[in-house]
Structure formats: C-alpha cells, structure tokens
C-alpha cells in the first residue's frame, strides 16, 4: 500500500511538473537581485518588474541577496531548480567571476532572459581640476606622476576596467582609492578626496547637470546626446576601437536547463517590459540605453563583454586565471 501510494504520488508530481511547464507560471516567481536596495541594479529591476507581472499574470517577489560582488546571488540561483521560478536579476559582474577566481560560473552557464539596458562609462573630474579632456588628463598625469587620485569600485569593477583600458594604450601613474560603489566615490569626488572617477553616465549625470563635477571623457565610439560637448575617447586613443562600445548592463537570467517554452515566455514578458514608455523614459533620463534583447543576440553581447573585460584585467595583471583556461577568446 505504502509503495503504491509513493508511486502514485511520484507519478502525480511528474504530471503536475509537466503541466506546470505548459501553464507556467502557476505560482509566484522569485527574483533574486544581486545588489543592494537603492542601487542601480535594484532600481532597474524594481521599475521593470511591475510591467512584467502584468504580462505574466503572476507576482514576482524580489529579494536583495548581496555579497561577493553578486556571486552569492548567482550561486544561489544556480542551486535552485531550472524551472523558471527563480530569476537572477543582475548586472555585468558575473562575467568576470572566472578570471578573478570569484566563482566557477558566469552568465555563459545560464540562459539570458533579457538584457534590459546598458550604461555608458564616462570619466568625471572635480571642477577645479586643471584638465578638461582626456588628452589634457593624460598630459597632466605624465607631468605629475602619482598626483592624480582616481576613485575605483574594486578590482574587476567598472572603474578598474576603464583604467585598464587606458593603461593598455598609455602608461599612467595614478593613485587608486577604492570605494563601495560609484555613489560613495562620486560623493568623495565632490568632497575633494579623489580627483577623477570613471563612472557610469547614469550615476553622474545629475551631479554634472548641477555643475558639481565635470565630464572629461566619454568611453564610447559615438558622441552621446546627453553630453554634446564631449568627444568620444576613440578620437584621443584610436586603439580603443577594438574594445568599444563596452559598458555595464542589467539583465535577467535563469539557470541553464530551464524548458524552452518557459524561457521564451519570460523573455517576451521582460523584453516587452523594457519597451514600455515608462521604462524607456526612465532609462533615457538617466543615460541608460534600453536593449531588451534575448536569445543569440544576448549571448553574443554577453560574450563580447566577457572577452574584452577578461583580457583587459588579465593584461593589467590582476586576474587570478588566464581567460584561455575558460576558452575566452581575445577580442579581435
């Protein structure tokens, strides 16, 4: 009797499991945000999700699971079932985990649901700094080695990769001071504790508009409508063309092995959410570029980011592992 019950239950749960895949979603979905409340990843996810909930007809319960540059959330989602009920809501960080030795997994071990938006890196400087563009900064640093204090968000963070990009073209002797994120670093810039900071446009734009700091470089190949007077860095350092455009991004991911129909249902919902007027207006206002891509397009984008960044940090000497070890190709 017991055995019969057990088999029946097992069979039932199997059927139920299949039914779930077809009728997904039948229960609340968990969204795991890898950065803290109030940060840019958090804000992007919390502003797109209400649209997605409407389209999916289910609640997405979001929790912030911070730590280990997002590795704790990434690993957590990886331990869950590949059933589409646990989403990883993250930023670009996992793409560096392998070379930095932070985790054995990155986004290539997951399925991208949607890359929602990407940010443009810029270089900001304090108002009283004696340089106004990248060339003047380079000249000044060469004339005053060690004088310029550059803010950073830790090795492997966006600021460190931008600095490595510059280093790959021209040797610069700056003093690096790490902060807990670009918010605290931009505060330090206004207080005079640091002189320059590579930051994402969205984080700095309001301070720039108010005239509390100045933009001296745009780390992109094209000019940006929000910064009409700043020339792209490739005009100063043409060698960077092979690495750009490059920048931080926000995306939603599920564990590899999630059924294809669930992936496409989620992708449709998030991509549609990214295309709503609300979301687009929000992103434009902060200088983020809306993407809303998934499938192979997303994979190509992710791979290009991983390849550029991994090789930059490897060449700069702070990678723990060679990108070769993971089959990451050098950017062309």
């Amino acid at each position: 009797m017991k055995k019969f019950l057990a088999t029946t239950l097992a069979a039932l749960s199997l059927i139920a499991g299949q039914a779930n895949a077809a009728e997904y979603p039948t229960k609340d979905i968990q969204g795991v945000i890898m950065w803290g409340a109030g940060g840019s990843t958090d804000t992007v996810m919390r502003s797109v999700t209400p649209h997605v909930e409407k389209l999916l007809g289910a609640d997405v319960i979001m929790t912030n699971k911070t730590g280990g540059v997002g590795a704790i959330a990434t690993k957590y989602v990886f331990t869950r079932k590949a059933d589409g009920y646990t989403l990883l809501m993250g930023a670009e960080n996992p793409q560096m985990y392998k070379v930095l030795g932070l985790a054995p997994i990155d986004y290539s071990d997951m399925i991208p649901i949607s890359i929602l938006a990407r940010g443009t890196p810029i270089m900001v400087a304090s108002n009283d700094a004696p340089y106004n563009n990248m060339q003047e900064l380079i000249d000044y640093v060469k004339a005053n080695p060690g004088k310029v204090k550059a803010g950073s968000t830790g090795q492997g963070g966006m600021a460190s990769i931008v600095m490595s990009m510059l280093q790959s073209q021209v040797k610069l002797d700056t003093t690096t001071i790490p902060y807990d994120g670009d918010g605290p670093a931009l505060t330090a810039l206004q207080g005079g504790a640091i002189d320059i900071m590579p930051a994402v446009l969205g984080a700095a734009i309001e301070h720039v508009k108010a005239g509390r700091m100045k933009v001296i470089g745009l780390i992109d190949v094209d000019a940006n409508p929000l910064l009409p007077n700043v020339t792209p860095i490739t005009e100063t350092l043409p060698g960077l063309k092979s690495m750009l455009p490059w920048g931080p991004f926000f995306g939603v991911f599920v564990k590899a092995g999630t059924p294809a129909n669930i992936v496409s249902k989620l992708s449709d919902a998030f991509n549609a959410g990214a295309q709503t007027d609300d979301f687009k207006a929000l992103m434009a206002q902060r200088g983020y570029t809306v993407m809303g891509i998934s499938g192979d397009t997303a994979k190509t984008f992710l791979e290009s980011y991983r390849s550029v960044s991994s090789w930059l940090v490897y060449d700069a000497g702070f990678a723990k592992q060679s990108p070769d070890k993971f089959g990451i190709k050098r950017p062309q």
């Binding site: 919390r46 209400p50 912030n64 590795a71 704790i72 932070l102 690096t176 504790a193 301070h207 108010a210």
Partner: protein
Amino acid sequence: MEALSYFASSWIHPELLALTALGTFLGIYVGAIPGLSVTMAVSILISFTFSWDVNNALCLMVGIYMGGVYGGSRTAILLNIPGAPSAIATALDGYPMAQRGEAGQAIGLSTVMSVIGGFVGIIVLAVAAPTVSEFAIKFQPRDYLMLGLLGILLVGSLSGESLSKGIFAGALGILIGTVGLDPMTAEERFTFGVVELWNGINPVAVMIGMFGIAEALNQLHHLDKTAVKQKVDKIIPSWKDIKKYLPLSLQSSSIGVVVGSLPGTGGDIAALMAYDQAKRSTRNPEVPFGKGAREGLIAPEAANNAAVGGAYIPMLTLGIPGDAVTAVFIGALFIHGLNPGPMLLTEKPEMFWFTVGNLTLANIFVLIFGLTGIKLFTKIVEMPKGILIPLIFLLSIVGAYAINNSIADIWWMLGFGVLGYFMKLYGYQVGPVILGVILSRLIDENWRRAIMSERGEIDSLFVNLFASPLSVTLFCIICLVFISQTPIWTRWLKPRLIRS
C-alpha cells in the same frame, strides 16, 4: 507662503494623512522586530507603490522610516533585543529599567525623547540643509577614520567593571568585523574558502544573538524568580521631567543630526556616541549607567531619531544618501520619474517642503502611536518565563533569518548567543563586541583610503591632517576624550579643576 502650502499638503489631504499614519504605525512594528529593517520595508514598498502617485508613495515610506527608527527601542526595552543597530544603546539602560518594573516609564520617556530628537532633525533640515550638506561631504577618509576611533573609545563607557575585559570584547568585535572579502582588494579574510563568508558575518545577527539569546539563556538561571510587577502609572513623562532632561536631549539630538548627515555614518553610530557623551557629561545620575539610568535611555533615542532628519539633508540637497534608507528613497524618486540629485530642489522646489511637512506629521504620529497601548506592552515583561524565553528565541530566529533570507545567519545568531551568555557569566560585557563589529569596517576602509591617498606615507598623512581645520578639531576631540579616561585626568587634573 507657497512653502507653507507644500508643507501642509500632507496634513490637509485626508488620503496623504491616512497613509502617513498607516506608514508610521507599520514602521513601529517593522522597526520593533529585529532583523526586519526599515531599508527592507521601504524597498519592498517601491514595487508595491509603483503605480501610485508619487506623493502617496512618499507619505507611506516616510511614515515607515520615522516609525521604524523609533520602533527599534520597543524590543530593546522589553526583551533586550534591539530592533535595529540604532537601538543597541537603548537596550543598555532601557532593559534594566524594564527589569526594575519601569518598562512603561521607559517606553513613555523614549517616545517623547525620540519625538524631540525627530523635531530637532527636521528643524535643522528645514533651516540649514545646504550648509550642513556642504559640510558633510567635506569629510575626508581620514576624518571618517577619526570618527571611527572616537567611536572605539566608547569601549571605556561600555565595558562595565573591568576595562581590560572591555578592550578584549571590543577587539573581538573588530576581529568579527574583518571576516569576509577585503573591502579594498576583495582578498578573502578568515573565510576558509566558504563563499557564504564572503559577505562577512552580519552585525545584526551578532547583535540579536548577543543581546537577545544571551539574555534569554541568562534568564534560565532565574526561572524560579517571579517577574517584577510593572508600574503602569505615570507612563507619560511629567512636564518637569521633560524640562529636566531637555538640555541632554538637545545635545544628543545635535550629535544625531550631524552624524546622521554624514554619508558614511548613520543612526547606529550616532546613538552610541550620544550615549557615551551622556555618560560622560551626566554628573550624578540617579541610577548608574548600565543599571537603568534614564539619561542612558534618553541620549540614544533622541540621537537616532534626529539622525533621520540628518540623513535627509544630503539626500534632498545633493542627491547623496545619508544612510541606507535614504539610498532607497533616491531609487524610489527615480522610479517615480523625479531626478533625485543636486537639481531636485531647483526643478521641484515643492519636494523639499512637502518632505519637511510630511516628516513633521510622521513625527507627531510617532508620539500618538508610541504613547498608546504601552500598558499592554509592559505585560510582555510580566509574562511567565516559560512563555517569555521561547518567545525571545522565536523572535530572534525569525529576525536572524529575515536579515538576508539565509539559514546561515540563524546559526551565527545562535552561536553568538551562546558566546554572549558565557561572556556575561564571566563578567565580559557584550556592548563592546557589537561596537567593534559596527566600527570595524568604517575604521578599516577609511584608514586604508587615508593612507592610500598619501601613497603609503604616514608623515604626509599627519602633515595634511594638521592642514585641515576639520581634521584638527576631530583629532583634538579624540585626544581630550582619551585623556579624560586616563588616570592622569581622573586622579590628578579633575580634582584640581573642581577645587579651583
């Protein structure tokens, strides 16, 4: 005139008024439950209030913030579990008061002092926001370092009968605080290859264990003792008392506003500093500090609520969060299509007075809700131990889990509970441990940033320190506080000064 109409808008619209009241009420309970933080509640509300009008959403969130910071004192007084790190100092004297049968008076006094502190914060925000925020962002890494060192000197106030045991406990706290990825280089420290340790040991888990569980275990020694009958008359402090303690609460509130307005420090450090300042400046407390001194309850409560107004100062004027909650507020404003930043007050000047008015309203609700139902709460302390102790365990476990939805935090919490119990048994205070945990990161990061800015040269650190008036002032304060705790001062200088 226009400012006044914005100020009053949340008072005269019934919907906004009701939402502020609801938020404050909820906030008191969110704040009272250890592990459930205001930051968490406000960020959940962001998606919940997504489709609402921005003012409605803000009213609810401001209420939760104001109520939540106050609510932390409830469980600190009744059960010795601070609802949040900013209520740690409240537990030091609030809980002994409750054990003496004065839980009602303690809650009444903490409510009134919280509200006074709240008003001081709001007034400074309204009158001097631009000046204070320009001052606050001028703090360099070396200044934060000195604030941290000033905080560490509090060990002297928290260590009970033996200073050396206090220093040991403080050092243990600092050691606990260093676990995790190095904040500067992301190098692993004391993690033994365990990923869950990367983020360090959560200070809230340490706090809940060392205060809540350790006390519950300690209570097991007194199972036969019946609980003290609570005095439930004179719950609302008399006018005479308020007048008597007003200078102290104003002093503590000013510490609260300034420390709260600094982007790198918040209500927890403000409350502890105010406690220390109160202990040092109170000549003859009726009851010694640590045994249920009213001054020891007033100072942190006024300071942590004053820090709310303080935290808003850089947020509204510069778009720089003064603490974790205001960081979430910035996210909320952004989602609602506003541009939180230094331009906010130029583009939306009404936001400023609306927030000031709304904070004032929420503060009034704190007074109303805080002073109702106190008699019912004091019954908690009178409960039989057989119910009370399991209740403390339940609350501590739920709280520890809620911090980060992690089972590991529950084990940490229980482990530190047992450690805290044995420490108490052998005359070690747990206060310095949690102080060390809180300050460890502040000191670690800023010491290294300070020395990195000088490219590793300690002499130029001192040269630059003496070139900055702010740093020199902080340095002198540290020296004075330090000397005032040494035998040179207590045996030799102080008696001479008093005689002359």
